[in-house]
Structures are given as structure tokens and as C-alpha cells.
Assembly symmetry: D2
Homo-oligomer: 295 residues x 4
């Protein structure tokens, strides 16, 4: 018999992920604030839910992947939300990039009713989601993780378990995004140093990507930063600031000074103050160029 899964949030990441689940043979109850975005999935067999809670199959699994902490709290604890319907032994598989605090809070809330919360934020952009190339981090009760593992594996190319603290996977996701944005800042400074010394940015990026930094972050982002190509945005700069703010919030809460996170935060604030919020977050490099007097 086909297992039915709830799926809340059909944005640029959620939509291709939901489609992959349909193709893997799951039945889906889908919810999105803007229902129109669900039509393609409905044509492929998904059932449209009118509220987040309606997407929850009885005692089943419900996935959520939404924009931020506030949206996650709303679809979970708001009226008609997931928490109202998630019965005993139900599992909320929460794949948004949110703070560990929010995960811990929602996990405690679900636990009071006998339901479970698993944090499972993913690495990868929409094209990786479509191609089942996501990397997933996982944390929460072992029993719940066992139950969702097959579903999670259907969405990406690898799953990494970080234990039972529901906030742990969120910390790892934030740490990863911090590593990425730090690499962006580093490349922006390095390529600007080259440019100001009369050296072609592209050839430096190309060399680094072929040699000591032969991994996608440096190769792909390096090409964009070297050629100053920031549109269309794969990941908007304003979202980057949201994530770095979550990093610093988690850092402060845990007593971890992160001066490099602070540096990139200020860089992103400057970028937005200069009107670049809708560019890709690699566009922080424009502020590096501007500080160096390059028009």
C-alpha cells in the first residue's frame, strides 16, 4: 500500500523535492500558502490541502520546508497548523533552515502530545533538489529518524546523522552556510587583490578551482565572483543575511565568538544598504570592489 506523506511549503526547494517524492511512489498531501503553486503537483496526483494541518496524514509523516523561523512557527503552531493534527507517533520532518532554538522549541511542543520532530535541513540549490543531489543533515529521536530515513534518502544523495538533539542538524546547516559565505568573502578579497595588481580575476579563480580548491563551492562561486556575474540569483543576498544572523544568534546563545561571521554579516548589511538584496549572495564581492575603489 502506498504511504501518504504531508508536504508543506512548495517554494523553489520544496516543489522539486515534492515532485521527487511523487515519482518515488509516495502519495502526497501538499500545502502551500499560495495554492496556485501546487497545481503542477496536483496534476501529477498530489492532493491539495487547505491548511498545513490538513496535509498531515493520520499518524503519518509531514515534511515542512518554508522560508524562515516565523513561517515554520506559523505552519506548525498557528491555527490550522501541523501541531493540531499531528497525532501520537506522528513525525514532523522539518527541512527548513531555521535556528536550533526553534527546532528545540517545536520538538518540545510535539513531544508533549506524543509526536516527534526531526530536523533535516539540506545543502543544495533548486537544481540539486530537482536532481536528487541534496545532502541532508539529520537530528532528533532515533526512533523518528529510523521512520523517515527512506523518505529522506529519496530526496538526495547522502544523509548525515548528528544525534538526538533536534537543534543539532540546524547548527550543522548554519555552520555549513557560514563556511560557504566565508569562502565567498575570501575569494572576493583575493580576486580583488589580484585585480588591483593587474592580474586577471578569472585566471586566478580558474587556477584555484583546478588545484588546491577543486570543489564545487570554489569552482562555481569562484567563477561568478571572478566574472562579477550576480544575476539571476541562485540564493538571494537578503536570505544570506538571514542565515548569517541565525549563525550569530546560535553563536551568542552558545558562547561562541565568531568574528568571521560578524565580518560577513557587516558585508551583507552593506550590500543591502547599497541595494543588492535581490542579487545572488556572491554579490557581496561588489562591496569588496567598491571599498577598493573599483567602479
Amino acid at each position: 500500500m502506498t504511504e501518504t506523506i504531508g508536504f508543506v511549503g512548495l517554494g523553489r526547494m520544496g516543489e522539486p523535492m515534492a515532485r521527487n517524492l511523487l515519482q518515488a511512489g509516495y502519495a502526497l498531501n501538499v500545502y502551500n500558502r499560495t495554492a496556485a503553486k501546487a497545481s503542477a503537483l496536483v496534476e501529477q496526483g498530489a492532493r491539495l490541502a487547505s491548511q498545513p494541518g490538513d496535509a498531515v496524514a493520520s499518524d503519518g509523516i509531514v515534511i515542512s520546508i518554508v522560508a524562515n523561523d516565523e513561517a515554520l512557527e506559523r505552519v506548525t503552531l498557528g491555527q490550522g497548523g501541523i501541531a493540531e493534527k499531528l497525532g501520537e507517533n506522528g513525525v514532523h520532518l522539518s527541512m527548513s533552515t531555521v535556528s536550533p532554538e526553534t527546532s528545540r522549541k517545536l520538538a518540545a511542543h510535539h513531544e508533549q502530545k506524543g509526536a516527534m520532530y526531526v530536523a533535516a535541513p539540506v545543502f543544495g540549490r533548486p537544481d540539486a533538489a530537482a536532481a536528487k543531489k541534496l545532502w541532508t543533515t539529520l537530528s532528533g529521536p532515533d526512533k523518528a529518524k529510523d521512520r523517515v530515513r527512506t523518505v529522506v534518502e529519496a530526496l538526495g544523495q547522502g544523509v548525515f546523522d548528528f544525534g538526538e538533539d533536534p537543534g543539532a542538524a540546524n547548527v550543522v546547516k548554519l555552520a555549513g552556510n557560514f563556511l560557504i559565505v566565508s569562502a565567498l568573502e575570501a575569494m572576493a578579497e583575493a580576486f580583488t587583490l589580484a585585480e588591483k595588481n593587474g592580474i586577471d580575476r578569472d585566471s586566478v579563480a580558474s587556477m584555484m578551482g583546478q588545484t588546491i580548491f577543486s570543489c564545487p563551492i570554489y569552482q562555481n562561486y569562484g567563477k561568478a565572483i571572478a566574472s562579477q556575474t550576480y544575476e539571476p540569483a541562485g540564493f538571494k543576498l537578503a536570505l544570506g543575511l538571514k542565515d548569517v544572523s541565525l549563525v550569530l544568534q546560535a553563536a551568542t546563545a552558545s558562547g561562541t565568538p565568531m568574528p568571521l561571521a560578524s565580518l560577513v554579516r557587516d558585508r551583507l548589511v552593506a550590500s543591502i544598504a547599497n541595494g543588492r538584496q535581490d542579487m545572488d549572495w556572491t554579490a557581496l564581492a561588489l562591496s569588496v570592489s567598491q571599498d577598493a575603489g573599483i567602479k
Copy 2:
């Protein structure tokens, strides 16, 4: 007929590089301040020179790879130095990590006498030098680069040409070391954030190295930083400070603000002030831990 090459500087990098040249069939005149270090090479057929200038074969190629700008100036312009003997059309292949200013100055000096200077700093540690796995950056007059190309190719796995400015290759080398040390700082902060949230450092490092940062810098250094293993030193922290200081010197000279370079500079100064100058430069992570209250 066998071509004779001069080789000045038989340190941890120079010695295995010189051996590779011998094995590739070149005749070598070697010089080292501490002559004893040359004995193994002499046994293998190298001729020992008593001064840097004595290593120069007439109108030939002389390689230098020494500790810093001062040492390079001394072996080049000092009494009995390379410049005294490098005849017309001679090529000084300068492989040390030095400032672009020093390269430009020495290039101008050689040019006055009809000789040429090629900057060719390398990426890679002593084990990579021994295994001919170095990556080499190259800049200087095209005519001179053509002349040394075969020699350079005998030393590593790839050569990247950055034009005719003799300082360009040094800028790229400094930019690369800056990218590396920035990644070290980023990993140290990220892993400390994880640790302070109760997450195992090694599992975060392992995940990143297997997924979005699947390149040697993150994999190898990541393992060291996660497990806090800083000895024996592959590249001493005090040398790291030397290089970052050169980065900032080149940045100031070219009007390039590099706040991330400043951040790691202060981190390295703090590390040395706390007695860690002889550890590997990954040990900057100890200062990150200390700031987070971890003993």
C-alpha cells in the same frame, strides 16, 4: 649534453625539488647556507658551490628557494650573490614565497645587466615537493618563461602562467595562502560552534569534506582542526604570519582593503603571543577555542 642548473636553498622544500631535478637528468650546482644539508645531493652527483653566485652556470638557469624576502635579497644581491654571476640571458627562477615588490626590484636589477627574473612560487608541502605534485605559478618575460618551462614542469604537476609582471606570480601565491588561512579560520569557528552546541567536531568536518567542500584543503586541514592535532607542523604558524603580513603589505600597496586578512593576522599574532609559533598554522584554531572558553 646535460644542462647544468644552479640551485640555491636546500630547505624542506628545496632539497626534494633539487633531488627531482637530478633524477630528471639535470646536472646541479647546489648552494645552501648550511653546507651539511647538501651532502645527500652531492652523493647523488650534485656539485657543491661555496657561494650563491658560484652555483650559477655560465649564461644558465639558477633556481632559488629560500625562507623570506631578506634571504632572497641576500643570496641575490649580497656579496658573492647570484647577481654577480648571472650573465647576459641568464635566468633567475625565483621560487620563494616573497612579496611582489621584492620580485619587481630584483627583476629590474637583473634587467640592467641583460639577465632575466622569473617568479615561480609553488603550492604544496614538502611531501608534495618530493612526489612532484607541486602546483607552480609563473610570471616574468615570456622569453625567460619559455626557457625555464621544462625545468619547472619537472618539479610539479601543473604550471599556471600569470603574465610578464615579475610580481604577478607572487601576488597569486599570496592570494592562495590567504584563501587557505581564511578556510582555517572559518573551519575553526564553525567546528567550535558545533562543539559548543554539543556536536562532535569530527563528524562535522567529515561531512563537509565529503560533500560541499570535497577538496584537500578542507579534508586534510579539516581533520586536523576537528581533532585539534597541530604537531608536528607541516607549515609553522610563525611562517603563516610572515605570509599574511606579506598579503597585507601587497594589499596596502595596491589599495585593497582585506578585512579577512586582518582578522587572521590578529589571530596569528594572538597564537604566537600564546606560545604557538612552532605548531602547524592550523593551531590558530586553539585561539578560537580559547576565546570560546574551551580549555
Copy 3:
């Protein structure tokens, strides 16, 4: 006839301020979460209110000075709070150090009911409060500011008006605290540089305080930092972090990169991670010394 004023919050600042109002001839309705702290004031004639709202005299003025944004929201909007009782034309004189956003939100809330909100955070420590030496910043509707001016003047030595935006005075207060903590960081670094060069910290602090920095912040805090005397705390380091976090929150909201605020934020996080949350905020200098290898 004696005017009656409500006074909510009898902490280290509020208690001496309330006493000054009694001595200036005002009748007071006082509220404090821990009622015991009100006993001395009650002996001097104040009436004890059982809830924040009970302290509000009909159509009158109510002062609040509490620990943080959450406390201010609770005493204002919580059950039995100020907003329940503040009638038309009533004025809430809000003297806490809080975010401009909280002030704007509470002002809008009061306005709906015909009441008014004036932000009036103060500069000065408890001893300055007792000696009527506070400096007060003021913002809100002109009509409301006119009404409270005499009261405000009874509490300090000077009042500065920053217009009608209820958040403006909070921004100025935060800017001022930011200037102070920046001076602390600067002195800590300068005195440590001196010490590491064999120069007596006190003599440097003394010279600066007598010459180009002849103002209380540098003189008083300079003496503490030079002599490393951080207890008892005049203003706890943990409160300093709260204020700098408010600075950065206001900075982000308004699109203002403040790298120096970020720097001191990380310094304070490090200080707390190393167990110094209950010391005076000048103790951030201990982290500067620690980074310099001074035990």
C-alpha cells in the same frame, strides 16, 4: 495640589530616581516585581501598587525603567499592565534602555487609545542617578514631552530632545553606549600595547586622561582598565552584551554596517564564554590581555 506620578521599576537606577521625585515633592505610586525593594520608598510616603497598571494615576504620567525589552513589554502590555490603565492623554515616560522598535511598537499601541509614549533613556550610573546627575535623551510627541519636561528635569542635569519619533531617543542612547564600549576596547588594546612594550599601564591612562582625553569616560574607565580592577561591577558585562546586541539589531534594521560594534560584540561574547558575565563591562580588557598572552 501635589501631582501624582506612577513609577514602575525600582532597580539600581529606578530606586534613587524615584527617591529624587519624592524629594522634589511629587506623590508616587510605585511598583516593583519584588515588592520588598519598595519598602524604603513607602516609608518616605510612596504608595505601593500591586500591579504596573495600578501605579498609573488617572490620566497621569507613569515612568518605567526596567531591565530590557521583554520586561518593558510585560509591564506595559501584560495582564495588569500600564496599557490597561493609561487613559486618554496619559503619558508613559519610558526610561529603560530598549530597542527603538519596542518604543515604536508601544507608542503605536498607546496612540490607538489616545495615550502617549515618550522615550527617555538616561546616561549615568546609579551614583549619578542618586546625585541627580543623569543626562536624559528624549523623543516622542511634542505635546507629551512638554507635559513631562519638569519631571524629567528633576531627575538629572540636562535634557536633550531628539524629535517626535519615539524610537529616536533609544537610538541615541544605544549610540552613546556604543561609543563608550568602543572607547573601552580602544583603551584595552592601547594599554596592552604599552604593557607588552614594558610601559606602565597606569601612567599611559593617566596621561591620556589629563591631556587629549580629559573626560570622565576615559578618566574613570581608563583607571579601571589600566589597573585591571573589574569588581564590583558598576554595569555588568552581560548587560553590556545586551546593549551592543540592541545596537546591532538597530543597525541591521536601518541598513548600517557597524564593524566596530561587531568587534566589541565578539569581545563581550568571549568574555562571557570565559566566565566574566558578572564583572564590570570594562573587564572586556581581560580578553584583550589573554589574547596577548598575559596571564
Copy 4:
């Protein structure tokens, strides 16, 4: 009998200082690279020397105040320099802002010949020099300081002794300039935060200068930064970068991490990269505004 003093360096600071010595009754031998600048002093009775060494009176006192370390080394150790003529017991009173290392080096050089070196850098701008309002820091052998004290006192309003290490007074001078430039950065960020929140910069500066920061640095520089008035330059931004670079050089040499000095260094580099090298160093605030998106 009138004592004769040598005076080397008649720039914006040196010229009014030399005039004050003439007026105090000293005979002067003056030297300046551009001799024309000496004409007014010569009219007032000074004798023009053709080389720095010619300004030295036998066994006497010679003052130098020149642009930087290189200039000081040239007038001291260069051909026809001070060192050639400074006899046994002669005192070189060195008032330039230079590195402690240069002072220590020159002191050692003089000592070999029985002469003495006293470092005596001053705080104050040209108008303060003219008005004898300078503050002087002093370090060197006690015997030499005793000998020059009357001369030093004739130049300013106060003298502070920092012991016998010839580099100590330079460290204190650099620490003072660092405190000043840190205050500039802090004010620039604070006033920009105010501006972005709709608050008048001038009124914030005015309030701070009247209350908790009632000292000249905040009052005078605060007014300039609030009103964005950066020309004419009292102290050029490019000189500010020179001084902050000396601060960081002394910091590195002594093992003192100074992240705030690094921050202002990058700010000054950005300012120069954007063409502001000839403005007053308060113009670093323009870069703060630019980062905040203010045109």
C-alpha cells in the same frame, strides 16, 4: 650666555616650534631640506645650516622633527647627518612620530659614540604648536632628559616621562594616535546609525560633546564628522595610515593583537583607494557612510 640649539625639520609642526624657541631666548641653527622654508626664522635671528649635521652645536642639543622613519634615519645617519657631528654628551631630541624600533636603533648608534637619544613625540596640531599647547611624551636616559627638560617645557603645556627605553615615548604616541582614530571610527559609525534612523548627526555629536565625552577629541572631531567637513586637512588621511601602520608594526613586534587597529587600518586603506588621501583623517567617515548606502 645664550644656549645654541640645533633644529632639523621646519614643517608644519617644526616651524612654529622653532619660532617659540627663538622667542624663549635660544639661539638656533636650523636645517630644512627645502631651505626656503627657513627664511622667516632666519630673519628672526636663526642661523641656516646647510646639512643636518651642521645644525648641531658642539656637544649640544639637536632637535629633529621630520615626516617619517625614513626621513629621520636620513637626517641622522645619512651623509652630513646629525650622527656625524653629535659629540660626546650631545643629545638628539627626536620629536617625530616614528616607530619605537627606529628610536631604539638610533639610540644604540648614538650611544656607541657617547652621545644620547631622547624620544619626545608630541600631541597637538600646528595651531597647538604655535600656541605652546603641545603635550610631550619623553623617554631616554635620565641624564639626557634632565638636560633637555627646559627646552621641552618651552614648547608645550605639559611633559610626561615614560622611563629610559628610548622607544617608550614612541609607543605612547602611537597608542594615543590609535585612541584618537578609534574614536573617529566609533563616531562615524554612531552618527551614521543616527542618520539612518532619521536623527540629525549634529545634534548627536553636540550632545555627546556636552555630556559623557566632553573632551576636545570628541568635541572638535565630532563636529567635523557630524557635518562631514573634511577639508582643509589638519592631519592628512595618508599620514593617518602611516601612523596606524606603525601601531600595527609595534603591535606585531610585541605580540599584541589589536583588532581595532586592524579595522581602522582597512578603513583608511579603503578611504585612500577611493581617493581621499589628502583629506583630513576624519574623512574615514565617508567610507562608513558609503558602506551604509549614503551618497
